[in-house]
């Protein structure tokens, strides 16, 4: 059984009050997520990631298409027992303390009364908020809110966790912690479906990713495959002999003794030789981190606008 | 069609649609029931400035002016209630109290209160005891005004049927300088002819002649008309009884009575309509709605007018 099955899902927003125009935020999405995967849902801002998640959570109703989670259609209330959800930029009842918040959510997820407080404490410890359990959420920083949000998404031990941009707005340490947490959840056997617009977040973590642009699915697969297709460039950094690669005609940046440039994959061997010949010392030769923008530039046909005027 | 189908997308929405229709209907029906079953209530009638002191402060010492305003309000209030065929006059007493507290010498207010506080609903507030107190208060503040003693006697006689107290009041009136000559005869009238129509007629006639307030005059006039009808009915029923004694049967029409020499013509009520002969020699008016206050001649199964009706208004206009 697949964890999530989406077929021909579409959502069109009505915008404007008097002169209604339609905005197709999601077009004909068909996608399958396997049980036990960490699945990255990638796309630039406005691609339709949040829209997809809201449809899956039953917060909005699709214009067309169907979706099922663990074999049940999403309109089946039973589905909600096995999923957890972290919305984008979450905000919580700020008059509650972190502990009260988690106990409340536990009660809404039908967690038995006697387990609620111990689970709340465990979740808070797990996301590093153990010390702030009795602090009202109005005093929480953005990062703390994000952690509380993850805690509430897993308090009832769901089989699938949906996270909408879980790393956005966090500092590097926070991102790292969230990444570790996602990995842990997956190790426990949970399926994790998370959206992001930053490729590097997904790269290290995901088994598979889907890339979305302007409401259309661009591709699904293993991250490396997608990147290889996109980039095929390497960054070379060396010390001394800063003119060694002038023959390749690339732009070289020099800071003190260190030189840096980006070359084609095919030129890698030639570049190593050239640096060695010139008496320089190779410091690093790395594939260029695939910028998602590059991928989209490649996958977005000009004029494929999502706006359609209604009659 | 597809729009409704979409709205009723699941069992919850279908059930709530059914509940909505049912409960909305039920509540409209209950609202209707409540309207029918509840007596008329003066829901928003609240007099916020209830105390003379508060009014005095707010009127910046112009108490005479304030008294006039409250007096006007009292009369208007009574008029509105009367038109609305109301059974409750909750604010009449507080308004009058305020008026005379602001100006203790406003005799018309005492007079007005004497009649309309005392008379039973729908012609007044139905508080004869309060009316007595109110007039006594007026007498205390205006001991030299014979009219207040007269009103006191009037309430005692007409509303409370306390003939001795009435006689006392009239005696006190005839001790006050400036009283009209007819006042001297009143105490005797009380003791000799207590409770008869004639005495009531004298009282209402005097009231009618002396009333300065239009509402009071109308009221007295309708009272006199009613007494007239009551009187007619008593006389006519005595004649039908005589007829029955002579012939053994009650008359079925006025013509028989005329033929028997008991009547000179067909008797008519004050609105010009002939009286009707009912079974067993009873005499009734054609339309009791014309005669508020009548106690006799009401056709069986009907009621006297509950208030001043359009019909009785006509009577007043003709007059």
């Amino acid at each position: 059984m697949s964890a999530i099955e989406i077929s021909n899902l579409a959502k069109t927003y009505q915008v404007g009050f008097f002169r209604k125009t339609e905005k197709a935020a999601l077009k004909n999405l068909t996608l399958e997520v396997h049980e036990g995967e960490i699945f990255g849902y990638l796309g630039p801002n406005g691609a339709g990631k949040t829209t997809t998640l809201k449809l899956l959570m039953g917060l909005m109703f699709p214009t067309a298409g169907t979706a099922s989670i663990l074999g049940r259609p999403i309109s089946d209330p039973q589905v909600k027992r096995s999923i957890g959800f972290l919305p984008e930029q979450p905000y919580f009842y700020d008059y509650l303390t972190a502990r009260e918040l988690l106990e409340y959510y536990a009660s809404l997820s039908d967690v038995p009364a006697k387990e609620r407080s111990s689970r709340a404490q465990r979740m808070l410890d797990r996301v590093g908020l153990g010390g702030a359990a009795n602090t009202q959420l109005r005093k929480f920083s953005k990062g703390m809110l994000q952690r509380a949000g993850i805690a509430q998404a897993i308090i009832h031990d769901p089989k699938i966790v949906f996270l909408d941009e879980p790393m956005s707005g966090l500092d590097p340490i926070g991102r790292r912690e969230v990444r570790d947490l996602i990995q842990e959840l997956n190790d426990e056997g949970k399926t994790v479906f998370f959206s992001t617009h930053i490729l590097s977040d997904a790269e290290t973590l995901c088994d598979r990713v889907a890339v979305l642009n302007r409401g259309e699915l661009q591709g699904v697969g293993v991250v490396a495959d997608l990147l290889a297709e996109t980039v095929g460039k390497r960054e070379v950094i060396w010390e001394g002999a800063s003119t060694a690669l002038d023959a390749l005609g690339t732009k070289v940046k020099i800071v003190g003794d260190i030189a840096r440039t980006v070359i084609d994959d095919r030129q890698a061997d030639a570049a190593i030789d050239a640096i060695r010949h010139a008496g320089g010392r190779l410091k690093s030769l790395m594939p260029v981190q695939g910028a998602l923008e590059d991928y989209f530039l490649k996958h977005t046909e000009p004029g494929a606008g999502a706006e359609v005027k209604s009659e | 069609m597809s729009a409704t189908a979409a709205i009723l997308r699941n069992s919850v929405t279908r059930i709530s649609a059914v509940i909505l229709v049912f409960t909305l209907g039920a509540s409209a029906w209950l609202a209707y029931r409540l309207d029918v079953s509840r007596p008329e209530v003066p829901s928003q009638e609240v007099l916020y400035l209830q105390t003379p002191r508060a009014v005095k402060i707010i009127s910046l010492g112009y108490t005479g002016l304030a008294a006039c305003i409250y007096w006007t309000r009292a009369v208007q209030y009574f008029g509105e209630k009367n038109v609305a065929k109301s059974k409750r006059f909750d604010l009449l007493q507080p308004l009058l109290d305020l008026t005379v507290s602001l100006d203790p010498h406003m005799v018309p207010a005492y007079e007005f209160g004497a009649i309309f506080l005392a008379q039973a609903p729908p012609y007044g507030a139905g508080m004869p005891d309060a009316a007595v107190k109110f007039v006594e208060r007026g007498i205390h503040d205006n001991p030299t005004d014979w009219r207040l003693y007269y009103h006191l006697g009037f309430i005692q006689y007409i509303e409370r049927h306390d003939y001795k107290a009435a006689a006392d009041a009239f005696t006190r009136a005839s001790d006050v300088a400036g009283h009209p000559a007819w006042m001297n005869a009143m105490p005797a009238l009380m003791s000799q002819r207590a409770g008869d129509i004639e005495t009531a007629r004298v009282l209402w006639t005097r009231m009618y002649e002396n009333a300065e307030n239009e509402a009071m005059r109308k009221n007295a006039y309708l009272r006199l008309v009613a007494l007239h009808v009551d009187d007619d009915v008593i006389h006519l029923e005595a004649l039908t009884a005589t007829y029955q004694q002579r012939t053994g049967n009650y008359p079925v029409g006025w013509r028989e009575m005329i033929a028997a020499g008991l009547l000179k013509g067909v008797p008519v009520d004050p609105s010009g309509e002939p009286y009707r002969l009912a079974a067993n020699g009873k005499v009734v008016v054609e339309d009791p709605a014309r005669f508020p206050f009548i106690t006799k001649g009401i056709p069986s199964g009907q009621k006297a007018a509950q208030t001043v009706t359009d019909e009785s208004e006509k009577l007043l206009k003709n007059h």
Binding site: G84, E100, S109 | T23, S43, D90
Partner: protein
């Protein structure tokens, strides 16, 4: 499970209200007003009790109504705006459970508030009257009717806030309260019209909440009894009307895209 979820949402709604400063401000002013009613009473000879009952119960009604509206309008829209609703509805909570939970939570809030205002009111009465009379039981009846009005107003506020903005909801709900108090007058006015306009006005007058029948303040001020029939009819009416408003709210909310 359904009932326990509704209960938890209700409790959380109550908790939100009692931790809100607006509530305390309103209660503070209500109690201040109630505390000052004996002053009004003191200067009115013989009418203290009537003045106090009228003013006191009117104050309880108005402040309770303000609390219902001010807290009620934000109940749903705030949860949508701040996206807290997303984390609730992605759980086994049905949308109709959420609406009912909000309703009972606000109802509980109003019950507690009304209790405190009633205590303040009765204390003021005790202060000027130096004791209670038998007929004061009627006051409890009047307070019960006031509470019924709140339950209806809450349902209506919830209905409006299930589809419109807080500002509009407040306007609508307040307008409804005012119209509801003139329901009978509206029917009176309808009887002066004829034809279609009469039918329309009459129809509207039976659809707006009938608060006139629930307002017995001036009756109890004069120590007049509340009949058992009125008690029953008003209770039923409040239940039906609230149920109608709530099912309309559910109907709308179940279909709403939470964008």
């Amino acid at each position: 499970m359904t009932t326990s979820r509704i209960g938890h949402i209700a409790y959380n709604t109550f908790r939100e209200a009692v931790r809100d400063r607006v509530l305390y401000n309103l209660i503070f002013f209500a109690l201040l007003l109630l505390a000052s009613t004996p002053l009004f009473g003191k200067i009115s000879i013989g009418l203290e009790r009537i003045v106090l009952v009228n003013l006191g119960l009117t104050a309880v009604t108005i402040f309770g109504m303000l609390i219902s509206i001010f807290i009620g309008i934000g109940l749903v829209s705030k949860e949508i705006d701040k996206k807290t609703l997303y984390t609730v509805l992605s759980r086994p909570v049905r949308r109709w459970e959420f609406i009912l939970g909000k309703y009972f939570g606000l109802g509980l809030t109003l019950l507690v508030n009304t209790f405190f205002m009633a205590v303040g009111f009765l204390a003021a009465l005790l202060y000027i009257a130096h004791g209670f009379q038998r007929s004061d039981v009627q006051l409890l009846g009047a307070l019960y009717f006031i509470m019924l009005q709140f339950m209806v107003i809450i349902a209506i506020t919830l209905l409006f806030s299930s589809f419109s903005s807080p500002m509009l909801s407040a306007l609508f709900a307040f307008g409804y309260f005012v119209i509801g108090n003139f329901a009978e007058e509206l029917r009176g006015a309808a009887n002066l019209l004829d034809g279609v306009s009469r039918a329309i006005v009459l129809g509207i007058s039976y659809l707006v909440p009938n608060f006139t029948a629930m307002n017995v303040i001036s009756q109890v001020a004069h120590s007049e009894g509340i009949t058992g029939a009125l008690l029953l009819q008003n209770s039923l009416y409040a239940i039906f009307y609230s149920a109608a408003a709530l099912s309309a709210a559910i109907l709308i909310f179940e279909n709403r895209d939470l964008k």
